[in-house]
Protein backbone atom coordinates (compact mmCIF):
# COMPACT_ATOMS: atom_id res chain seq x y z
CA UNK A 1 0.00 0.00 0.00
CA UNK A 2 1.65 3.29 -1.09
CA UNK A 3 1.43 6.43 -0.81
CA UNK A 4 1.85 10.06 -0.22
CA UNK A 5 5.47 11.04 0.20
CA UNK A 6 6.97 11.05 3.72
CA UNK A 7 9.14 14.10 4.25
CA UNK A 8 11.99 13.32 6.52
CA UNK A 9 11.99 15.47 9.69
CA UNK A 10 15.78 15.76 9.69
CA UNK A 11 16.95 15.74 6.09
CA UNK A 12 13.69 16.95 4.53
CA UNK A 13 14.17 14.44 1.73
CA UNK A 14 11.07 12.60 0.60
CA UNK A 15 10.40 8.87 0.74
CA UNK A 16 7.18 6.94 0.21
CA UNK A 17 4.74 6.81 3.12
CA UNK A 18 3.53 3.31 3.85
CA UNK A 19 0.24 1.68 4.73
CA UNK A 20 -0.51 -1.40 6.80
CA UNK A 21 -3.02 -4.12 6.03
CA UNK A 22 -4.17 -6.79 8.48
CA UNK A 23 -6.34 -9.54 7.05
CA UNK A 24 -7.97 -12.24 9.20
CA UNK A 25 -5.15 -12.15 11.77
CA UNK A 26 -5.38 -14.81 14.47
CA UNK A 27 -2.73 -15.63 17.02
CA UNK A 28 -2.66 -18.37 19.64
CA UNK A 29 -0.10 -19.07 22.37
CA UNK A 30 -0.71 -22.73 23.15
CA UNK A 31 -4.43 -23.07 23.68
CA UNK A 32 -4.91 -19.39 24.45
CA UNK A 33 -6.21 -17.44 21.47
CA UNK A 34 -4.99 -13.85 21.81
CA UNK A 35 -6.20 -12.45 18.48
CA UNK A 36 -9.29 -13.66 16.65
CA UNK A 37 -9.72 -12.94 12.97
CA UNK A 38 -8.72 -9.26 13.17
CA UNK A 39 -9.05 -7.31 9.93
CA UNK A 40 -8.38 -3.62 9.28
CA UNK A 41 -6.05 -1.43 7.31
CA UNK A 42 -4.18 1.78 8.00
CA UNK A 43 -3.71 4.22 5.14
CA UNK A 44 -0.36 5.90 4.44
CA UNK A 45 0.02 8.98 6.63
CA UNK A 46 -2.91 8.04 8.87
CA UNK A 47 -2.96 8.03 12.68
CA UNK A 48 -4.68 4.89 13.84
CA UNK A 49 -5.29 4.44 17.55
CA UNK A 50 -5.96 0.99 18.90
CA UNK A 51 -7.68 0.90 22.27
CA UNK A 52 -8.87 -1.88 24.51
CA UNK A 53 -8.65 -3.26 28.02
CA UNK A 54 -5.40 -4.77 29.32
CA UNK A 55 -4.77 -8.24 27.92
CA UNK A 56 -6.93 -7.71 24.85
CA UNK A 57 -4.04 -8.39 22.44
CA UNK A 58 -3.07 -4.83 21.42
CA UNK A 59 0.68 -5.19 22.00
CA UNK A 60 0.72 -8.61 20.33
CA UNK A 61 -0.89 -7.02 17.30
CA UNK A 62 1.82 -4.34 17.18
CA UNK A 63 4.48 -7.05 17.32
CA UNK A 64 2.92 -8.69 14.26
CA UNK A 65 3.19 -5.43 12.34
CA UNK A 66 6.94 -5.12 13.02
CA UNK A 67 7.47 -8.82 12.35
CA UNK A 68 8.36 -9.87 15.90
CA UNK A 69 5.49 -12.38 15.94
CA UNK A 70 4.28 -14.76 13.25
CA UNK A 71 0.50 -15.04 12.70
CA UNK A 72 -1.19 -18.35 13.49
CA UNK A 73 -3.57 -17.48 10.67
CA UNK A 74 -4.12 -14.50 8.39
CA UNK A 75 -1.72 -12.01 6.90
CA UNK A 76 -0.08 -8.74 7.89
CA UNK A 77 1.46 -6.57 5.18
CA UNK A 78 3.43 -3.33 5.43
CA UNK A 79 3.70 -1.34 2.21
CA UNK A 80 2.28 -4.41 0.45
CA UNK A 81 5.08 -6.66 1.76
CA UNK A 82 4.80 -9.50 4.22
CA UNK A 83 5.49 -7.99 7.67
CA UNK A 84 7.19 -11.12 8.99
CA UNK A 85 9.85 -11.02 6.25
CA UNK A 86 13.28 -9.66 7.17
CA UNK A 87 13.43 -7.96 3.77
CA UNK A 88 10.45 -5.80 4.77
CA UNK A 89 12.34 -4.54 7.83
CA UNK A 90 15.31 -3.77 5.62
CA UNK A 91 13.21 -1.83 3.10
CA UNK A 92 10.68 -0.05 5.29
CA UNK A 93 11.87 2.12 8.18
CA UNK A 94 9.67 1.14 11.10
CA UNK A 95 10.12 2.33 14.65
CA UNK A 96 8.38 0.72 17.60
CA UNK A 97 8.23 2.61 20.88
CA UNK A 98 7.96 -0.15 23.47
CA UNK A 99 5.82 0.34 26.55
CA UNK A 100 8.88 -0.20 28.78
CA UNK A 101 11.08 1.91 26.53
CA UNK A 102 13.39 -1.10 25.84
CA UNK A 103 16.45 1.15 25.99
CA UNK A 104 19.88 -0.47 25.74
CA UNK A 105 21.07 -0.39 29.31
CA UNK A 106 24.74 -0.71 28.44
CA UNK A 107 24.61 2.47 26.31
CA UNK A 108 24.15 6.09 27.27
CA UNK A 109 21.02 7.95 26.16
CA UNK A 110 23.05 9.57 23.35
CA UNK A 111 24.41 6.21 22.14
CA UNK A 112 20.92 4.68 22.31
CA UNK A 113 19.76 7.29 19.82
CA UNK A 114 22.89 7.15 17.67
CA UNK A 115 22.88 3.35 17.35
CA UNK A 116 20.54 3.11 14.36
CA UNK A 117 22.21 5.72 12.12
CA UNK A 118 25.67 4.41 13.06
CA UNK A 119 24.83 0.79 12.34
CA UNK A 120 23.18 1.62 9.05
CA UNK A 121 25.88 4.19 8.15
CA UNK A 122 23.20 6.74 7.33
CA UNK A 123 25.35 9.77 8.08
CA UNK A 124 28.75 10.84 9.35
CA UNK A 125 29.28 11.35 13.09
CA UNK A 126 28.70 15.12 12.93
CA UNK A 127 25.36 14.69 11.16
CA UNK A 128 24.37 11.92 13.58
CA UNK A 129 25.17 14.21 16.50
CA UNK A 130 22.95 16.91 14.99
CA UNK A 131 20.03 14.48 14.51
CA UNK A 132 20.40 13.04 18.01
CA UNK A 133 20.57 16.42 19.70
CA UNK A 134 17.57 17.64 17.72
CA UNK A 135 15.51 14.61 18.73
CA UNK A 136 16.55 15.08 22.37
CA UNK A 137 15.63 18.74 22.18
CA UNK A 138 12.16 17.93 20.80
CA UNK A 139 11.56 15.66 23.78
CA UNK A 140 13.13 18.10 26.32
CA UNK A 141 15.95 15.68 27.08
CA UNK A 142 19.04 17.74 26.17
CA UNK A 143 20.39 17.47 29.71
CA UNK A 144 20.15 13.68 29.75
CA UNK A 145 22.28 12.88 26.69
CA UNK A 146 25.12 11.33 28.67
CA UNK A 147 23.06 9.67 31.37
CA UNK A 148 22.63 5.92 31.57
CA UNK A 149 19.06 4.61 31.11
CA UNK A 150 19.14 3.35 34.71
CA UNK A 151 19.40 6.97 35.89
CA UNK A 152 16.14 7.97 34.18
CA UNK A 153 12.56 7.93 35.48
CA UNK A 154 9.92 5.80 33.74
CA UNK A 155 8.54 8.81 31.88
CA UNK A 156 12.00 9.93 30.74
CA UNK A 157 12.76 6.43 29.46
CA UNK A 158 9.60 6.59 27.39
CA UNK A 159 10.60 9.97 25.96
CA UNK A 160 14.06 8.63 25.09
CA UNK A 161 12.40 5.69 23.33
CA UNK A 162 10.29 8.12 21.29
CA UNK A 163 13.39 10.20 20.50
CA UNK A 164 15.17 7.02 19.37
CA UNK A 165 12.24 6.36 17.05
CA UNK A 166 12.44 9.90 15.64
CA UNK A 167 16.16 9.52 14.86
CA UNK A 168 15.29 6.50 12.73
CA UNK A 169 13.33 8.87 10.45
CA UNK A 170 10.53 6.32 10.24
CA UNK A 171 7.98 5.85 7.50
CA UNK A 172 5.86 3.92 9.98
CA UNK A 173 5.93 4.65 13.72
CA UNK A 174 4.27 2.37 16.23
CA UNK A 175 3.70 3.37 19.83
CA UNK A 176 2.83 1.02 22.69
CA UNK A 177 1.21 3.11 25.42
CA UNK A 178 3.24 6.26 24.64
CA UNK A 179 1.59 8.42 27.29
CA UNK A 180 1.48 6.01 30.21
CA UNK A 181 3.68 7.10 33.15
CA UNK A 182 3.83 10.67 31.77
CA UNK A 183 2.50 13.80 33.41
CA UNK A 184 -0.42 15.53 31.61
CA UNK A 185 1.83 18.18 30.00
CA UNK A 186 4.29 15.64 28.62
CA UNK A 187 1.39 13.39 27.52
CA UNK A 188 -0.01 16.34 25.56
CA UNK A 189 3.46 16.97 24.07
CA UNK A 190 3.66 13.35 22.89
CA UNK A 191 0.21 13.69 21.31
CA UNK A 192 1.41 16.83 19.52
CA UNK A 193 4.54 15.05 18.28
CA UNK A 194 2.47 12.20 16.84
CA UNK A 195 0.13 14.69 15.14
CA UNK A 196 3.07 16.77 13.82
CA UNK A 197 4.75 13.70 12.35
CA UNK A 198 1.54 13.09 10.41
CA UNK A 199 0.76 16.68 9.38
CA UNK A 200 4.24 17.82 8.42
CA UNK A 201 6.05 14.61 7.57
CA UNK A 202 3.21 12.22 6.59
CA UNK A 203 4.49 9.49 8.89
CA UNK A 204 1.99 6.66 9.34
CA UNK A 205 1.33 6.11 13.06
CA UNK A 206 -0.29 3.24 14.90
CA UNK A 207 -0.80 3.99 18.56
CA UNK A 208 -1.83 1.49 21.21
CA UNK A 209 -3.22 3.40 24.14
CA UNK A 210 -5.66 3.53 27.02
CA UNK A 211 -5.61 7.31 26.83
CA UNK A 212 -9.06 8.42 25.63
CA UNK A 213 -7.99 12.06 25.29
CA UNK A 214 -5.12 11.09 23.00
CA UNK A 215 -7.34 8.83 20.89
CA UNK A 216 -10.13 11.34 20.46
CA UNK A 217 -7.72 14.24 20.06
CA UNK A 218 -5.34 13.07 17.35
CA UNK A 219 -6.63 9.85 15.75
CA UNK A 220 -7.98 9.68 12.23
CA UNK A 221 -9.56 6.38 13.13
CA UNK A 222 -9.88 4.35 16.30
CA UNK A 223 -10.21 0.59 16.68
CA UNK A 224 -11.39 -1.09 19.88
CA UNK A 225 -9.99 -4.51 20.61
CA UNK A 226 -11.69 -6.66 23.25
CA UNK A 227 -10.90 -10.28 24.01
CA UNK A 228 -8.80 -10.46 20.85
CA UNK A 229 -11.64 -9.27 18.59
CA UNK A 230 -11.93 -5.92 16.86
CA UNK A 231 -15.38 -4.89 18.06
CA UNK A 232 -15.40 -1.32 16.80
CA UNK A 233 -13.72 0.65 14.04
CA UNK A 234 -14.56 4.27 13.38
CA UNK A 235 -13.63 7.91 13.63
CA UNK A 236 -13.21 9.76 16.93
CA UNK A 237 -16.58 11.39 16.22
CA UNK A 238 -18.22 7.94 16.12
CA UNK A 239 -16.75 7.18 19.53
CA UNK A 240 -18.18 10.22 21.24
CA UNK A 241 -21.57 8.50 21.16
CA UNK A 242 -20.78 4.80 20.80
CA UNK A 243 -23.63 2.52 19.79
CA UNK A 244 -22.02 -0.61 21.21
CA UNK A 245 -22.60 -0.73 25.02
CA UNK A 246 -19.25 -2.55 25.52
CA UNK A 247 -17.43 0.36 23.86
CA UNK A 248 -19.44 2.91 25.87
CA UNK A 249 -18.66 1.04 29.08
CA UNK A 250 -14.94 0.93 28.23
CA UNK A 251 -14.56 4.54 27.06
CA UNK A 252 -16.86 6.23 29.53
CA UNK A 253 -16.91 4.11 32.69
CA UNK A 254 -19.16 5.49 35.42
CA UNK A 255 -17.92 5.40 38.98
CA UNK A 256 -20.83 4.11 41.00
CA UNK A 257 -20.14 4.44 44.72
CA UNK A 258 -23.48 2.92 45.69
CA UNK A 259 -23.01 -0.19 43.63
CA UNK A 260 -19.27 -0.56 43.04
CA UNK A 261 -17.96 -2.77 40.26
CA UNK A 262 -15.95 -5.03 42.55
CA UNK A 263 -19.16 -5.92 44.41
CA UNK A 264 -20.69 -6.95 41.09
CA UNK A 265 -17.62 -9.10 40.52
CA UNK A 266 -18.07 -10.70 43.95
CA UNK A 267 -21.58 -11.81 43.06
Amino acid sequence: MTCNPTRNPFTHTETAAVGVSIEGLSKSFGRFEVLKNVTFSVAPGEIFVLMGPSGSGKSVLLKHIVGLEQPSAGRVTVAGRDASSEATRAQVRMALVFQSGALFNSLSVYDNLALYPREHQIADEAAIREKVMRALQILSLEGSAHKAPSELSGGMKKRVAIARGLVMEPQLMLYDEPTSELDPVMAATISEIIATLKDEYHVTSIVVSHDRELALGIADRVGILMGGELISLGTPADLRTPADPRVAEFLYPKIDLKNPRFKKLET
Binding site: V66, M94, L96, F98, L103, N105
Partner: protein
Protein backbone atom coordinates in the same frame (compact mmCIF):
# COMPACT_ATOMS: atom_id res chain seq x y z
CA UNK B 1 8.98 -30.42 24.95
CA UNK B 2 10.52 -33.86 25.40
CA UNK B 3 14.20 -33.88 26.46
CA UNK B 4 15.49 -35.32 23.17
CA UNK B 5 13.43 -32.87 21.13
CA UNK B 6 14.71 -30.03 23.34
CA UNK B 7 18.34 -31.11 22.82
CA UNK B 8 17.88 -31.37 19.04
CA UNK B 9 16.10 -27.99 18.96
CA UNK B 10 18.97 -26.49 20.98
CA UNK B 11 21.60 -27.90 18.61
CA UNK B 12 19.60 -26.65 15.62
CA UNK B 13 19.17 -23.12 16.94
CA UNK B 14 22.86 -22.97 17.98
CA UNK B 15 24.01 -23.96 14.48
CA UNK B 16 21.55 -21.50 12.97
CA UNK B 17 23.02 -18.74 15.16
CA UNK B 18 26.55 -19.73 14.10
CA UNK B 19 25.67 -19.56 10.39
CA UNK B 20 23.89 -16.26 10.93
CA UNK B 21 26.84 -14.72 12.84
CA UNK B 22 29.39 -16.06 10.34
CA UNK B 23 27.48 -14.29 7.58
CA UNK B 24 28.33 -10.94 9.18
CA UNK B 25 32.09 -11.62 9.36
CA UNK B 26 32.88 -8.88 6.80
CA UNK B 27 31.42 -6.33 9.27
CA UNK B 28 33.95 -7.25 11.97
CA UNK B 29 36.40 -4.48 11.12
CA UNK B 30 33.65 -1.88 11.54
CA UNK B 31 32.79 -3.47 14.87
CA UNK B 32 36.38 -3.41 16.16
CA UNK B 33 35.41 -1.37 19.24
CA UNK B 34 32.97 -4.11 20.31
CA UNK B 35 35.58 -6.76 19.46
CA UNK B 36 38.23 -5.08 21.62
CA UNK B 37 35.76 -4.66 24.48
CA UNK B 38 34.97 -8.39 24.33
CA UNK B 39 38.69 -9.28 24.16
CA UNK B 40 39.11 -7.30 27.37
CA UNK B 41 36.15 -9.01 29.07
CA UNK B 42 36.97 -12.53 27.88
CA UNK B 43 40.75 -12.35 28.11
CA UNK B 44 41.99 -9.74 30.53
CA UNK B 45 39.36 -10.15 33.23
CA UNK B 46 39.62 -13.97 33.18
CA UNK B 47 43.43 -13.97 33.28
CA UNK B 48 44.01 -13.58 37.06
CA UNK B 49 41.70 -16.44 38.03
CA UNK B 50 43.15 -18.68 35.28
CA UNK B 51 46.65 -17.92 36.54
CA UNK B 52 45.82 -18.60 40.21
CA UNK B 53 44.03 -21.85 39.45
CA UNK B 54 46.69 -23.11 37.03
CA UNK B 55 49.45 -22.41 39.55
CA UNK B 56 47.78 -24.62 42.13
CA UNK B 57 46.83 -27.31 39.62
CA UNK B 58 50.48 -27.54 38.53
CA UNK B 59 51.48 -27.62 42.21
CA UNK B 60 49.01 -30.37 43.12
CA UNK B 61 50.06 -32.40 40.08
CA UNK B 62 53.70 -32.18 41.17
CA UNK B 63 52.78 -33.05 44.75
CA UNK B 64 50.71 -36.12 43.83
CA UNK B 65 53.14 -37.28 41.14
CA UNK B 66 56.10 -36.75 43.46
CA UNK B 67 54.46 -38.85 46.17
CA UNK B 68 53.77 -41.77 43.79
CA UNK B 69 56.88 -41.54 41.62
CA UNK B 70 59.28 -41.34 44.59
CA UNK B 71 58.16 -44.85 45.54
CA UNK B 72 59.80 -46.32 42.45
CA UNK B 73 62.61 -43.82 42.00
CA UNK B 74 61.13 -41.90 39.06
CA UNK B 75 60.59 -38.51 40.70
CA UNK B 76 63.06 -36.85 38.33
CA UNK B 77 60.39 -37.23 35.61
CA UNK B 78 57.89 -35.00 37.42
CA UNK B 79 58.64 -32.15 35.03
CA UNK B 80 57.53 -34.15 32.00
CA UNK B 81 54.37 -35.36 33.76
CA UNK B 82 53.30 -31.88 34.84
CA UNK B 83 54.33 -30.38 31.49
CA UNK B 84 52.43 -32.87 29.35
CA UNK B 85 49.35 -32.93 31.60
CA UNK B 86 49.08 -29.16 31.64
CA UNK B 87 49.73 -28.65 27.93
CA UNK B 88 47.62 -31.46 26.51
CA UNK B 89 44.74 -31.58 28.98
CA UNK B 90 44.52 -29.54 32.13
CA UNK B 91 45.54 -26.14 30.73
CA UNK B 92 42.84 -25.97 28.05
CA UNK B 93 40.21 -27.76 30.15
CA UNK B 94 40.69 -25.58 33.21
CA UNK B 95 40.78 -22.40 31.12
CA UNK B 96 37.53 -23.54 29.45
CA UNK B 97 35.85 -24.36 32.78
CA UNK B 98 36.76 -20.93 34.12
CA UNK B 99 35.58 -19.33 30.90
CA UNK B 100 32.23 -21.11 31.24
CA UNK B 101 31.84 -20.04 34.87
CA UNK B 102 33.01 -16.48 34.50
CA UNK B 103 32.39 -15.36 30.93
CA UNK B 104 29.74 -17.84 29.73
CA UNK B 105 27.47 -17.10 32.67
CA UNK B 106 27.91 -13.34 32.17
CA UNK B 107 27.08 -13.62 28.46
CA UNK B 108 23.97 -15.70 29.15
CA UNK B 109 22.83 -13.28 31.87
CA UNK B 110 23.39 -10.18 29.73
CA UNK B 111 21.66 -11.54 26.62
CA UNK B 112 18.82 -13.14 28.61
CA UNK B 113 18.25 -9.84 30.37
CA UNK B 114 18.26 -8.01 27.01
CA UNK B 115 15.71 -10.52 25.73
CA UNK B 116 13.43 -10.32 28.76
CA UNK B 117 13.52 -6.50 28.80
CA UNK B 118 12.79 -6.35 25.04
CA UNK B 119 16.18 -4.88 24.04
CA UNK B 120 16.62 -7.74 21.55
CA UNK B 121 13.16 -6.98 20.09
CA UNK B 122 14.18 -3.32 19.82
CA UNK B 123 17.35 -4.29 17.93
CA UNK B 124 15.33 -6.45 15.54
CA UNK B 125 12.80 -3.71 14.81
CA UNK B 126 15.76 -1.41 14.07
CA UNK B 127 16.96 -4.03 11.58
CA UNK B 128 20.15 -4.55 13.59
CA UNK B 129 20.62 -8.33 13.81
CA UNK B 130 21.66 -9.52 17.31
CA UNK B 131 23.86 -12.16 15.65
CA UNK B 132 25.88 -9.34 14.10
CA UNK B 133 26.32 -6.95 17.03
CA UNK B 134 26.07 -9.28 20.03
CA UNK B 135 27.32 -12.69 18.89
CA UNK B 136 29.98 -12.11 16.22
CA UNK B 137 32.27 -9.83 18.32
CA UNK B 138 32.17 -12.34 21.19
CA UNK B 139 32.97 -15.31 18.96
CA UNK B 140 35.86 -13.45 17.32
CA UNK B 141 37.19 -12.33 20.69
CA UNK B 142 37.15 -15.82 22.19
CA UNK B 143 39.02 -17.17 19.17
CA UNK B 144 41.79 -14.64 19.80
CA UNK B 145 41.87 -14.79 23.60
CA UNK B 146 41.40 -18.50 24.32
CA UNK B 147 44.85 -19.63 23.06
CA UNK B 148 46.39 -16.81 25.10
CA UNK B 149 44.59 -18.02 28.23
CA UNK B 150 45.59 -21.63 27.52
CA UNK B 151 49.28 -20.72 27.03
CA UNK B 152 49.30 -18.70 30.23
CA UNK B 153 47.58 -21.58 32.05
CA UNK B 154 50.32 -23.93 30.78
CA UNK B 155 53.19 -21.64 31.74
CA UNK B 156 51.84 -20.83 35.21
CA UNK B 157 50.99 -24.50 35.81
CA UNK B 158 54.53 -25.54 34.89
CA UNK B 159 55.89 -22.85 37.15
CA UNK B 160 53.61 -24.00 40.01
CA UNK B 161 54.87 -27.57 39.54
CA UNK B 162 58.47 -26.37 39.62
CA UNK B 163 57.99 -24.41 42.85
CA UNK B 164 56.29 -27.30 44.62
CA UNK B 165 58.92 -29.75 43.34
CA UNK B 166 61.71 -27.59 44.74
CA UNK B 167 60.23 -26.78 48.16
CA UNK B 168 58.59 -30.14 49.01
CA UNK B 169 61.03 -32.10 51.10
CA UNK B 170 60.09 -35.54 49.77
CA UNK B 171 60.57 -34.36 46.15
CA UNK B 172 63.30 -31.66 46.29
CA UNK B 173 63.98 -31.33 42.58
CA UNK B 174 65.74 -28.18 41.38
CA UNK B 175 63.90 -26.09 38.74
CA UNK B 176 66.79 -26.62 36.27
CA UNK B 177 66.31 -30.41 36.43
CA UNK B 178 62.52 -30.05 36.36
CA UNK B 179 62.49 -27.87 33.23
CA UNK B 180 65.21 -29.89 31.55
CA UNK B 181 63.06 -33.06 31.74
CA UNK B 182 60.00 -31.05 30.73
CA UNK B 183 61.78 -29.81 27.59
CA UNK B 184 63.20 -33.24 26.76
CA UNK B 185 59.85 -35.06 26.76
CA UNK B 186 57.65 -32.37 25.27
CA UNK B 187 57.28 -31.52 21.59
CA UNK B 188 55.56 -28.57 19.93
CA UNK B 189 52.57 -30.79 18.97
CA UNK B 190 51.75 -31.26 22.65
CA UNK B 191 51.26 -27.53 23.11
CA UNK B 192 49.49 -27.22 19.76
CA UNK B 193 47.04 -29.98 20.76
CA UNK B 194 46.15 -27.99 23.85
CA UNK B 195 45.67 -24.79 21.88
CA UNK B 196 43.36 -26.49 19.38
CA UNK B 197 41.31 -27.89 22.24
CA UNK B 198 41.15 -24.49 23.92
CA UNK B 199 39.90 -22.89 20.69
CA UNK B 200 37.19 -25.54 20.27
CA UNK B 201 36.05 -25.32 23.90
CA UNK B 202 36.03 -21.52 24.01
CA UNK B 203 34.16 -21.16 20.74
CA UNK B 204 31.55 -23.75 21.76
CA UNK B 205 31.03 -22.16 25.20
CA UNK B 206 30.48 -18.65 23.85
CA UNK B 207 28.21 -19.84 21.05
CA UNK B 208 26.06 -21.97 23.36
CA UNK B 209 25.82 -19.25 26.03
CA UNK B 210 24.82 -16.65 23.41
CA UNK B 211 22.16 -19.00 22.07
CA UNK B 212 20.74 -19.78 25.50
CA UNK B 213 20.65 -16.07 26.37
CA UNK B 214 18.97 -15.06 23.13
CA UNK B 215 16.34 -17.80 23.42
CA UNK B 216 15.23 -16.89 26.93
CA UNK B 217 11.46 -16.58 27.26
CA UNK B 218 9.40 -15.23 30.13
CA UNK B 219 10.16 -12.90 33.02
CA UNK B 220 13.17 -11.96 35.15
CA UNK B 221 13.16 -15.36 36.87
CA UNK B 222 14.13 -16.93 33.57
CA UNK B 223 17.39 -14.93 33.52
CA UNK B 224 18.69 -16.96 36.47
CA UNK B 225 17.47 -20.19 34.87
CA UNK B 226 19.25 -19.26 31.62
CA UNK B 227 22.53 -18.66 33.46
CA UNK B 228 22.32 -22.01 35.25
CA UNK B 229 21.48 -23.78 31.99
CA UNK B 230 24.33 -22.05 30.16
CA UNK B 231 26.94 -23.07 32.74
CA UNK B 232 25.69 -26.66 33.04
CA UNK B 233 25.51 -27.14 29.25
CA UNK B 234 28.97 -25.57 28.84
CA UNK B 235 30.55 -27.89 31.43
CA UNK B 236 28.99 -30.96 29.84
CA UNK B 237 30.06 -29.75 26.41
CA UNK B 238 33.67 -29.23 27.52
CA UNK B 239 34.01 -32.83 28.69
CA UNK B 240 32.15 -34.33 25.71
CA UNK B 241 34.14 -32.27 23.22
CA UNK B 242 37.35 -33.07 25.11
CA UNK B 243 36.90 -36.76 24.38
CA UNK B 244 36.10 -36.30 20.69
CA UNK B 245 38.75 -33.64 20.01
CA UNK B 246 41.41 -35.72 21.81
CA UNK B 247 40.43 -38.76 19.74
CA UNK B 248 40.45 -36.76 16.50
CA UNK B 249 43.86 -35.23 17.26
CA UNK B 250 45.34 -38.62 18.15
CA UNK B 251 43.94 -40.02 14.93
CA UNK B 252 45.46 -37.17 12.91
CA UNK B 253 48.87 -37.58 14.59
CA UNK B 254 48.95 -41.31 14.02
Amino acid sequence: MKPLTAILAGIGSTLQLLVSAAGYTPTLWRQRARFIEQCYLIGYTTLPIVAILSFFIGGVLALQAGYSMSNFGAKQFIGSLVGLSMARELGPVMAAILLAGRVGSAIAAELASMKVYQEIDALETMNIPPAKVLVLPRLAAVLVMMPVLAIIADLVGWFGGAIVSKYTESIAIEPEAYFSVLRRFMVFEDVLNGLIKAEVFGFAIVLVCCNIGLNTRGGPREIGAAVTRAVVVSLILILVLDYFVTKALMHLQS
